[in-house]
Amino acid sequence: MTIIETRDLTKRYRRQLAVDRISFTVEAGQVFGFLGPNGSGKTTTIGMLLGITTPTAGEFRLFGEKGRGSLHRVRRRVGATLEQPNFYPYLSGYDNLRIAANVKGVGAARIDESLEVVRLTGRARDRYRTYSLGMKQRLALAATILGDPDLIILDEPANGLDPEGMREIREIIVELGQRGKTIFLSSHLLHEVERMCTHVAVIRKGKIIRQASVHDMLAANVVAELRGPDPVALGRAAGEYPGAVGACREDDGAVVVRLDDSDLGALNRYLAGRGIYVSHLGVRRRSLEDAFMEITTAGEEVAA
């Protein structure tokens, strides 16, 4: 089932085109990462999905519904936070959740459960303004899951957190994903997204430039790392290999080749045929960050 579907969604602020005709889909059960540098249009896109930013053009559906009234109704199945956690600083964490619970029509038991999930029960009666950033993010997560939503939308949930805080948030999100929730999260912390998400879309300058599963994104090309006595000659020969998509020489003398298949033997034979013998030949694990950098620096526009 398609949970989110956007078609040519556009937002213009006077002369600035913040989101430019973006189309993507999120299916049920996916943990979907929405990646992009700061200012690329992630928050504006989420704002439109949540009904707090009015699109300039295009349309979107949530749970197959569109139109003001229907969207307002299905948004009851959505839990979300946008940008930083937004709470009343003079109220306790518990009272902040009470306000959200009243809106969502859930009882006190559900507040306690949510606080338990985000491990904030012990500080629930303290004022929000006394919370650390990590606690504020966890309270935002608690508010998000309060109504037991089918779709959870999180905007930069690990922003500004220390490694411990990031780990806690990651564990909670992974746990929610394992419970079958559909999760849509925006982030520019690629290593975090790689560890949490099943699918990603990359947005740059308001345009979606790639949408794929994380597996496909990482497996798009095999990256081989080569070392030899003459890195310059090795780099030149590797770059001329017919199966090479690209090659570069790194500062430590390693030559990195992106291949269009995984046949390292063929590469080795090709190099040997040109009289170049390598001292090291191995597959370098490709990170989402590598893929992201390739996509965003190439500026290619790939249909999803």
Partner: protein, 277 residues
């Protein structure tokens, strides 16, 4: 989403806000001084009638002047504008309120706050008036029709001022600037606009005293609602050889105040709905 749910949430947000209690204490202190002065004068000065009921209602409701309305407006600005600076208005909508429902919650705040403040002022006034009131000597009702009409008018003036504050807070979206704009308009802006308009469009001068600030302030004038006070004012003016004062019609004032209140509530809603959160 019921009005009860909206009211419940506004109750949590309002009653836990320290700024509300500080504002209420300031209002009670100012009004308390006014009542205490009259109370002590009544005890020590034979020329001053002691504060007692039912004669004292005009004093209790009218002497604080526009203070309760202005303090009510301050509270409304503090409670509404901060929803934008803290981005909790946005979060409320994300959590499931429609924009209409969020604004309706804020509209509930206006009469709620007005009733609460007026109730406090009345309670304080009654506390000072009761010692001088011989309940066993009462020949008529403790609260007359004129008193009720005046209380209603004071309440309407507070609601109107609150609606104006809600409009300004919805447009400006920041407590400090909204407060500054509100006070500037009440203190100078309206007279300035009226003077400018009268200079260039003479016909406007005739209706300038129906500008919202004027109307809401004038409504808290006791002499409009008590014929005895009007007669006394006319007699005093004639004694001095001055022209007899003319008092505006209470019915017209109420009608105009209702119109301005509806205008501010609607304009505030349109401004709120039009912009992204």
């Amino acid at each position: 989403m019921t009005a009860l749910t909206l009211a419940r949430n506004e109750w949590i947000k309002t009653t836990r806000r320290p700024a509300l209690w500080v504002t209420l204490l300031c209002l009670l202190a100012i009004v308390g001084i006014v009542f205490f002065q009259r109370y002590s004068s009544g005890l020590s000065n034979d020329d001053v009638t002691p504060l007692r009921l039912p004669d004292g209602w005009a004093f209790i409701l009218g002497e604080p002047g526009p203070m309760p309305a202005i303090f009510g407006a301050i509270v409304v600005i503090l409670l509404v504008a901060s929803e934008f600076s803290w981005r909790t208005a946005r979060q409320n909508v994300i959590d499931g309120l429609s924009r209409e429902q969020f604004y309706a919650g804020k509209v509930l705040l206006v009469p709620g706050m007005s009733l609460a403040l007026l109730g406090l002022v009345v309670a304080l006034g009654v506390a000072f008036a009761l010692p001088g009131t011989g309940l066993s000597d009462l020949t008529g009702p403790l609260v007359g029709l004129d008193d009720l009409a005046f209380a209603g008018a004071v309440l309407l003036s507070m609601v109107g001022m609150g609606a104006m504050a809600l409009f300004i807070a919805s447009v400006v979206r920041s407590s400090g600037p909204a407060m500054a704009l509100f006070f500037f308009y009440i203190a100078f802006g309206e007279q300035l606009l009226a003077a400018l308009a009268a200079r260039f469009i003479p016909a406007v001068a005739a209706v300038a005293h129906y500008a919202p600030g004027q109307v809401f302030m004038n409504m808290a004038e006791a002499r409009i609602y008590y014929p005895s006070l009007q007669e006394a004012a006319v007699a005093r003016a004639l004694e001095r050889g001055a022209a007899a004062p003319v008092f505006p019609s209470a019915t017209v004032l109420v009608g105009v105040a209702l119109g301005w209140t509806a205008f501010f509530l609607l304009a505030g809603f349109l401004a709120f709905r039009r912009r992204d959160l």
